[in-house]
């Protein structure tokens, strides 16, 4: 019997002093600021003179910020926090002496991270619905899609965390995530790039995540969404497998 849920319960127990709304505010505060500043502020400039209003541009940026927020919260949770637990708290050194298995730790960590991202995603969705930036009923699927994104990045983040040795290594992680945030069609469409660059950008996991959410919130469905879903499922499963193997080696090796 799996006891992965014990990890989730443990994290909730540790967090019991932090109020739940703290987690939500922390999760959505930054994307919300970007939505106001870039979405609406720059949106006024983008559409000045053109047919649409600033609202149309904000509706373009909003799903991308949701995807980014899911990515950031998933990766920060599984890299920074897990790294700390493994290297300093030595939490799992004691866990492995109990009947819990490595797979329980892996699944439990990913589940706890996904839970946290889901909480933020639901609130962010509520905010963009309230601001009238949703144009399709398909947007109801945006929350499960955000959960899938959180799963893919949590698994990949957990796998990455096992490779981090120095505190400085976290900077290199940011060096991957920040360009992804800025260049994965968050703020402008893929067509801005020259052809060869488009191929590179399209291969990024955040691009696939944004495609998925943007398709759902604008109601423009296509085969691309299925491809994006498959991409994220593969990334999540592959990341889980790798993380599990690496954690096993670290804790039992």
């Amino acid at each position: 019997m799996s006891s992965a849920h014990l990890i989730v319960l443990r994290h909730l127990w540790v967090l019991r002093h932090g109020r739940p709304w703290n987690l939500v505010v922390n999760g959505i505060f930054e994307p919300f600021l970007y939505l106001l500043s870039v979405g609406i502020g720059i949106g006024q400039l983008v559409t000045a003179g053109a047919d649409g209003g600033a609202g149309r541009y904000a509706a373009f940026v909003a799903p991308a910020l949701l995807a980014t927020s899911a990515m950031n919260s998933a990766v920060n949770e599984t890299t920074g926090n897990v790294w700390w637990r493994v290297r300093f708290d030595k939490l799992y050194d004691s866990v492995v002496t109990t009947p819990m298995r490595i797979a329980d730790i892996t699944v439990g960590e990913i589940a706890a991270s996904v839970l946290r991202s889901t909480l933020s995603a639901v609130c962010f969705c509520a905010v963009i619905v309230a601001l009238g930036m949703i144009h399709s009923w398909w947007a109801l699927l945006a929350v499960p899609a955000a959960v899938l994104i959180a799963f893919a990045f949590s698994a990949a983040g957990l796998a990455a965390a096992t490779y981090l040795r120095d505190p400085h290594d976290h900077q290199y992680l940011q060096l991957c995530m920040l360009p992804m945030f800025l260049f994965s069609t968050t703020f402008y469409p893929l067509s801005v790039y020259p052809e060869p660059v488009q191929v590179v950008v399209a291969a990024l996991p955040l691009y696939q995540s944004i495609e998925l959410l943007r398709g759902l919130t604008t109601g423009q469905l296509g085969v691309g969404l299925l491809a994006a879903t498959a991409y994220l499922v593969l990334m999540g499963v592959g990341g889980t497998w790798l993380a599990n193997r690496r954690l096993g080696r670290m804790l039992l090796g």
């Binding site: 505060f29 600021l33 720059i42 006024q44 940011q174 800025l182």
Partner: protein, 253 residues
Amino acid sequence: MALRAYGYWALRYRRTWRGTIVIGVANPLLFLMAIGLGLGRLISPDLAVLGGVDYLAFFAPGMLAAAAMQNGIVEAAFPVSMSRQPGGAYPVAAGTPLEPEDILHGHALFMALRVATNAAVFLAVMVAFGAAQSPMVALTLPAATLTGLAFALPAAAWAVTLTGVGPVMGAFKWVVMPLYLFSGTFFAVEQLPDALRPIVYVTPLWHGVDLCRTLSLGTATWPASLGHLAYLVTLAGAGYLVARRNYRRNLHG
């Protein structure tokens, strides 16, 4: 004696500079490319609200000032709050013939040089991209450094009173990010509703942004520039005086 305290930070930096490249140099340059070049392509180049220049020329000097603010706080708040903990560099230095003022002066000199070197790299790239419109752009280097110090000195004055780095993270989220996104860096303050504009005009970052922007565009006027300078110098000076008092209280308390 202050140079001895400076020597400590310079020596330390010779070992750790690689990690600071990401946050100090890569971060603003990536924003310059993604927002200035990429998103700028969606914005028509003759908008009156941007002063009739293309978006890159509008955004780049704003980003220079905003990056100087971030660097100023990163260089002041985190190291100062960590150095003053038991066993940190400050209590140890305070046990030597160094006076608290020397420790402050040495560290502040290091902060100023860090902000200035990062700004110089950014400025060189900005000029290479053709984002500068006037030879007066050279004056943005001291202007950006002053902007950085106007944040770094008050931040140091505050951080030296802290017992942990937790509040610094909070300040980043609740103070620095909103300033960054709403101080006229990404869009013109004139786009905001009338009621909100005065709030932006009292924020220190707006003064740094407007000073750098008018210098870079060649539209600077004496009264406005002197006003911005006076504001920033006052803030830096007040921060310095409070820091002096707080350093003495906390290090020789």
